[in-house]
Structures are given as structure tokens and as C-alpha cells.
Symmetry: C2
Subunit: 474 residues, 2 copies
């Protein structure tokens, strides 16, 4: 592969790459909104057509209905590029669905129109994960333009339900493990961001997550607080008691036993965290996040090495706004726990239930409690000495002229662990965007330099893999 020619093509084709991202952003593929399910499916067809233009054999794999609804799940996109038995096969994972977004939420521009300003691309999905996804197509176009052969076989495995629980993904993965994915040698997943805001980093670890809904049901109807206040058992009073018993305002989990399995942070580790090229802005994510800890290492430890528990919402279970001064009859409280090595999701779940049930009993409430763990998955921790990681590190060095520190992520990507468990191959997390990109928030963006340099990183990563593969076979 001719590195210089490939990179020249990437530079030459920038306008085309921006047009491709613009087209992708314009389809509001919000998987969690039933009214936008059709757009999510439309997105799959758009990607299929784009892929086919590069000679990729594409199949849209249907995943059936979304449980409890009449909605078809967005299909998986299975695409095969190259079939050379002498080349390694890299599975490429990305997702084509996005988080909800609307001007009402406070976006400065229409989230569904790609907006350029000061070398930045704004729009829902620019960073998570449409930019990183279409960059694989951009890379293929650059290879084509430079008259270069793609140095590995690619098995695309693209999902449309990532922002809505990856429903159906695990089953489909198991289904295809010995079929479409049978030749896969390693996995590359681009649904991550740098830990630093100023330079590339590569994460090796992710936190696990357990997501809970606790429902408290009292009277059959919302009650007038004047007529019934003081006389009846109020679900909201129980709810704030339970929610408040889970975590303290300093972020410490209050569930007995929950820290038992957490690995201690060594002094050496703490020192290495203090040295990482993470600015206060990167740690703060650009959101004025009210950091709890003064020391950099403590903030990093709180994100990467400690469990956390966030209270998301307390919502009325009865639809409609209800009266402002009513006593809500039934509520649902939502919270999630992020776990770290070596916490086990099942053990954590048992501790959470024990604690909430015991606490509820103490309240002597007349209401009813339901605890539902909607979703759970374990943390992820990968071997970075593997050729898959080493190729990526080299590709980043060549593109960005800096050695990427190896980091962790506070977030969770359950399907990364699924791929590791099912395929038993190394899973590389290859970041494209920055921690300040505002994914899942308003004004999501991707810096142009990140967008264009990632295309080069992708290409060089494949070249580095091919080189290592040849060495291994020699």
C-alpha cells in the first residue's frame, strides 16, 4: 500500500466525504422513537446502497418485531468486502441509529442538518456514530481513488438499535458466528471517543451497566393533596426515600457490599493517571459538569475504576400531566449502576434488590413496590498486546504523530463484551471523536480534523494488520 498516495486521496476527496456525512445526518434514525422507526430502516437502506457502490455484498438481516410492540426492529447490515483467503478478516462494528434530538432541547442548529463552523461539523450522529461509520466508506473511496488494494477482508456488521438497548443483536451475533462471521480474525469497533480532548487515546476497558426501573403504586387515582395529604401513603415520599438510599451526594454507593469485589487502585496506577494528557476541559466534557474531585487522578478513578450510580428520572406512571398539586398515584424511578472489574452483574443485582426491599420494609408503606432490572451487562477489559491493538496504535502514531495513551472509558458498550464472548477474538475500540463532542446531548459535533484523520487511521490500521499478518504467517 502506498501511504502517501492514499493520504493524498483522502485530502483530495474531503468535499465528497462531507457530502456523504451530510446525507447520513439528514435521516433522523432515532431508534428509540417509534415514530422514527421508518427513518431508522431508511438509514439502513441508504447505507446498503452506498456500500454496494463499492462492490460490497450486502444483506439486510431482519431481526423480527421489537418485543411488546408491532414495530419491526431495524435490520442488521451484513456486508462482505473482499474474500481473499490469504488476508485476515476484520469485523467492523458501528451503529447507524442515533439518540433523539430536537431544536426544543436547545440545539443551536437543526440537529438533522450538517452544519459547518470553525472546522467543526455539527449534527446528531456526527460523532456517535454516523461519522465513524461513513468513514469506512470514505476509506474505501480513498483506496479506490488511489488505485490501492484494500489490504484485508472486511466483514461489516452494522446495527440500528444501539441507542435503544441493542435489542436482537446478541442473538443475531450468535446466529452468524459460524456463518457470516466464521472467518473473522479480529474486531474493530468505532463507537468510542478519545479520553483526552487534545490528543488521541485508545481505551482498553469499559464499565458494565445495570439499568433499573422501580415502580411504586398507591391509590388507584392521583389524589387531591388538600383532601388526602397526611391521610394516605404517598408513593413519591417512598420513592425519594428509596432513591436517596442508593447513593450519597458525593457519589458513594450506599448499597451494602457493593464495593467488595472492586479492585483496589494501586499507588502506581494513581500516579500514572495523574500523568495522563487529560485537561480539566476533557475531564469536564465541556458541559460545566461540576466535578466532585479536585485531583485529576481522583476524577479518572471515579470514571474508570470505581462503580457509580446515577438517578435518571422519577416519572408519573399514569400518562398525561396530571394536576400540579396532586399526589401521584404511581411512579417509576429510573437509575443505573456502572460496574468495574471484578464486580459481577448478578451479584450486584442481588445486593441492589436486597437493599431496596429491606429499605422499603422499613418505610412501613401501604404502597406496592416492583423492582425491575431492565438490562445488565458486565464490564469489558481487553488485551492491548494483541496485533489488533498494536496495529491501531501504530496507525495513530503515523497519522497524528503521537503515541496514544491506553485508557479506559466510564461508559458501557455491552455489545463489545458480547462480541468478545461470542467470537472469542480480540475487540479493538478505535476512537474517532473527542470527549467534548456532546454525544447524547445537544449540539453534538465532530472536529473536521478528527473526521478526516480517522480515514487515514482506518487505512493505515488495515495496512499495519496486513503487515503483522504476513509476519505471523512467515
Amino acid at each position: 500500500m502506498d501511504y502517501v498516495k492514499f493520504c493524498e486521496s483522502v485530502d483530495k476527496l474531503q468535499a465528497r466525504f462531507i457530502d456523504r456525512l451530510r446525507d447520513a445526518i439528514e435521516i433522523p434514525s432515532v431508534s428509540s422513537e417509534p415514530g422514527r422507526r421508518a427513518d431508522t430502516v431508511k438509514m439502513a437502506h441508504w447505507i446498503k446502497a452506498e456500500m454496494e457502490a463499492f462492490g460490497i455484498q450486502v444483506r439486510l438481516k431482519p431481526l423480527g418485531k421489537e418485543p411488546g410492540t408491532d414495530l419491526d426492529l431495524p435490520p442488521l447490515i451484513l456486508g462482505q468486502h473482499g474474500n481473499d483467503p490469504d488476508k485476515p478478516t476484520i469485523m467492523v462494528y458501528s451503529h447507524y441509529d442515533v439518540q433523539p434530538a430536537s431544536l426544543q432541547d436547545g440545539w443551536e442548529h437543526d440537529p438533522w442538518t450538517l452544519t459547518e463552523s470553525n472546522e467543526v461539523l455539527h449534527g446528531r450522529g456526527t460523532s456517535d456514530d454516523k461519522g465513524p461509520l461513513v468513514n469506512w466508506l470514505n476509506m474505501l473511496e480513498a483506496f479506490q481513488d488511489a488505485n490501492q488494494e484494500v489490504p484485508v477482508n472486511l466483514a461489516f456488521f452494522l446495527e440500528g438499535m444501539e441507542e435503544n438497548g441493542s435489542v436482537g443483536f446478541r442473538d443475531a451475533l450468535e446466529d452468524e458466528a459460524n456463518q457470516f462471521l466464521s472467518d473473522v480474525d479480529a474486531v474493530c469497533l468505532t463507537d468510542v471517543a478519545w479520553a483526552s480532548n487534545t490528543q488521541p487515546t485508545i481505551p482498553r476497558g469499559l464499565r458494565g451497566v445495570l439499568f433499573y426501573r422501580i415502580a411504586i403504586r398507591g391509590a388507584q387515582e392521583d389524589a387531591h393533596s388538600g383532601l388526602f395529604g397526611g391521610a394516605i401513603s404517598e408513593p413519591m415520599t417512598d420513592m425519594v426515600n428509596l432513591m436517596g438510599s442508593l447513593v450519597d451526594p458525593q457519589g458513594k454507593l450506599l448499597i451494602p457490599g457493593v464495593y467488595n469485589a472492586v479492585l483496589e487502585v494501586t499507588d502506581e496506577e494513581r500516579e500514572s493517571y495523574e500523568k495522563l494528557p487529560l485537561t480539566p476541559e476533557a475531564l469536564d466534557g465541556g458541559i460545566g459538569g461540576r466535578l466532585l474531585h479536585a485531583m485529576k487522578a481522583e476524577t479518572i478513578i471515579s470514571k474508570w475504576r470505581q462503580p457509580s450510580l446515577s438517578l435518571h428520572r422519577i416519572e408519573n406512571l399514569k400518562p398525561g400531566p396530571g394536576a400540579t398539586t396532586s399526589i401521584p398515584a404511581a411512579l417509576v424511578g429510573k437509575f443505573s449502576i456502572r460496574t468495574v472489574p471484578r464486580m459481577e452483574a448478578n451479584e450486584v443485582d442481588a445486593l441492589v434488590r436486597q437493599h431496596i426491599e429491606a429499605r422499603f420494609k422499613q418505610l412501613q408503606s401501604k404502597n406496592e413496590l416492583d423492582i425491575d432490572c431492565v438490562h445488565q451487562s458486565d464490564w469489558f477489559y481487553e488485551d492491548v498486546d494483541h496485533w489488533n491493538y498494536q496495529a491501531a496504535i501504530k496507525a495513530i502514531e503515523r497519522t497524528w504523530d503521537v503515541t496514544p495513551p491506553i485508557t479506559c472509558e466510564g461508559g458501557s458498550i455491552p455489545i463489545a463484551l458480547d462480541m468478545k464472548k461470542v467470537l472469542k477474538k480480540n475487540v479493538l475500540l478505535l476512537p474517532v471523536g473527542r470527549p467534548t463532542d456532546g454525544i447524547h446531548s445537544v449540539n453534538e459535533k465532530l472536529d473536521k480534523i478528527n473526521y478526516f484523520n480517522a480515514i487515514k487511521v482506518y487505512g493505515l490500521y488495515l495496512e499495519e494488520i496486513a503487515a503483522r499478518w504476513q509476519e505471523k504467517r512467515a
Copy 2:
């Protein structure tokens, strides 16, 4: 006045009275929904036209814009019926706006269509307060039909913002005290219900209310709970801590000093409550309300003689749904306190602020707190030996053949206290509906017997007043 002829006319005109209520219910005059402000104003015009048909001189008194909005406040309806200097003048208060309602909330029938079943009239406003309001027109029609003279002058003072804080009412009341209301001798307010579900009662007391919004603001944007959980100060954690520190699950207020001014319940009082004709259904309000107390007297005491504190909502301050697993950046918590003699609203407010501020300081949060007492009004307690109350007691005895026990209400009607303070006249609370009518809830209803008998009670109440007035003058 010929009692028999009047009552015959009431019985004869039942179909007309139901039609009148049907027309009133069909106008969705929800004062708290900006999109229904036009309907609220339309309701005022409908009532004006109905009143003018009975020779009432009507003026719609504009109240200006709703503060902070471009919306006109619904007008006050001022109507004068009769002007005889030899007759007493009774001010009639009622409100023509209603609570929100929609089929989505779980109504069995369209809330804006009067639906008859089993001698019951269903629809939003049947009991609160359109039924009681149009009954004054029904009464005038019965007087007319029976060829009877209305025995007193009536000064109608009807509001369209009662369910939304009675904005503008107090000023307008002060404004008209020496003008339109200068001849008023007593007030009759029909915005109450029986305490018992089986027989009429008359309330003499109401709880006061203080309504609070506490806002907690953290990061500038909602944050991803994976990326930031554990590292930042989360507003929801602070919020459940503050809300949970206000009241315990048994309904006891936890604000230091808040019970100091509450009058002790005597043994005699407790005994009298145990004897009141209140069924468990009436105490429960028909909503399966999960009563905290086993004894009837304790339930009554908790509603009439003790303060209460209800937690209403914890809402995201940023518009839009936000992501399910986000850390909300800013929240508002809503709660209200009901007060009883001799608690002073200002003193209670000072205690609440002291407590919340001290508690927030303990949390060592990085977030910001705002406490806003949106509304406060004191409790109400009236002299029942006054001719105004005695006339009503007699009217109920003659109509229902039972002596109404004198009770209290757990709810608050700030404007009842306003009328008492500004006009310095006796304010009668004359109930029409039952505690199980589901006001402010779904499937609001009014029993036909309550609707029709109230017309007779209204007429006889005016006759009894006239008789007492003559005695007094003689």
C-alpha cells in the same frame, strides 16, 4: 316564597338543567393550559349570555395579561340580579374554569361530553365547579317558572382562573370591594363538597397552603451517566435528599419547629370525629387511597387538624425527554404544605427555607439551589352561628331531611380567606358534591340527586336568609 311551587318547578325542569350542564361541560375551559385559554374565555361569554337571559346585568371584568406570558387572563364575571334596598345582598362565588382532563389519563368517557349513567352525571367540571355554578341559573329558572320572586339581591362574582392560582382575583376583589361589592351582606361559595359520602355536611374550616418549587442546577447540559457517573455532582441525588428530608413515609413533617403552632386535638374533639357519619369510602375518596391510619378519628385529624406535606413532581428543567440514561443537568421539585390553625404562612415559610438550606449545605453539593414559594395562603375558619350559616343549615334540613354536621376540609381555598379579609363579611362554604366525585382526577362525576337537590337548597337558603333579615330589621 312558595316552597312547594318552587320545588315542583325544580323537578319539572330537570331535563333543561341537564342540557344546561351539558353545554357547560362541552367547553374545555382549562385555565392552566395555554392552548385552552381561548376556551376559558369562551366559557365566560357563554355564562354571560345565560345570565343575561335571566335579566342579570353582566360585566366581564378584564384582569390583564397573565404575568410572564402574552395570554389574557380569563375575565371575572360580575353579575347583578336584583337591586332592592330592602333585601340583603348575597355575593355568589364560583369558578368556571376546570382542571385538565383527557381520555389518555384514563377517563372512561370523553371528559368534555356529559355522560349519564346510573343516576350519575360524568364529565370534567360536573362537581368542580360547573355543576354548582350553573345551578344558580337553574335556581333562577325555577323561581321564574314558579312565578316566585327571588328573595334576596345576588351579586355574582365568578372566576376563570381558580384552578390556576386565582391570578388577579385578590386585586380585583379589593378593587370592587367598595364598588360592585359595596352592598354585600354575606358570601356564599359553592366550591366545596360534603365531607361524608352519604349525607350533607357543611365545612367551617379549610387548610392553608404553601406551594414550593425547588430548583437544583448542575452541569450546563445533561451528561452521559457512563462518562460522568461518579465524577460529577448530580442534581437528582441532591433533589431526592432534599425532598426526602421534608416528610416521612408516615406523613409526619420533618421540618424542625413546624408543629409548634398547631393546636392540640382535645379528647372531646377526637370523640366527636369518631362519631361523624363518614364511611371508610368517604374517607378514602373512592380512590383506593391507601389510608395510613386505622381509626376514623385519626384519619379525620390528619386531614382537618394536622399539617401535611405532599411531594408532587420532580421534573427535568430542560425541555424535551432527554436520554434515558443521562444525568439530568437541572431539575425542579414541587411540593406543598397544608397548614392548620394557628400556623402562620410566613413563619412556616421561614422554617422551610432554614431547613432546606441547612440540609443542602450538609450535602456539600457542587450544584446550585433555588427555593421559590410560588404561592402561600393561610387557613380559614368561620363563625357558624352567623345567620348566613344558619340559613344554609336550615335549607339543607328542609331539602335532605337531615341536620348537616359541621366539618372541616383538608383542601385550601385561598380566595375564601381573601373574601373574608377584604369584605369583612361571613363566608359560607355551601357544598354540592360528594368526596368521591373525583374532582382533579379522572371520571369526575356529580350524582343527579346532588345536582337537583342543590337547586332546592340554594332557593331555600335565600328564603331563610330573607326571613332572618326581616327578623333582624324588625
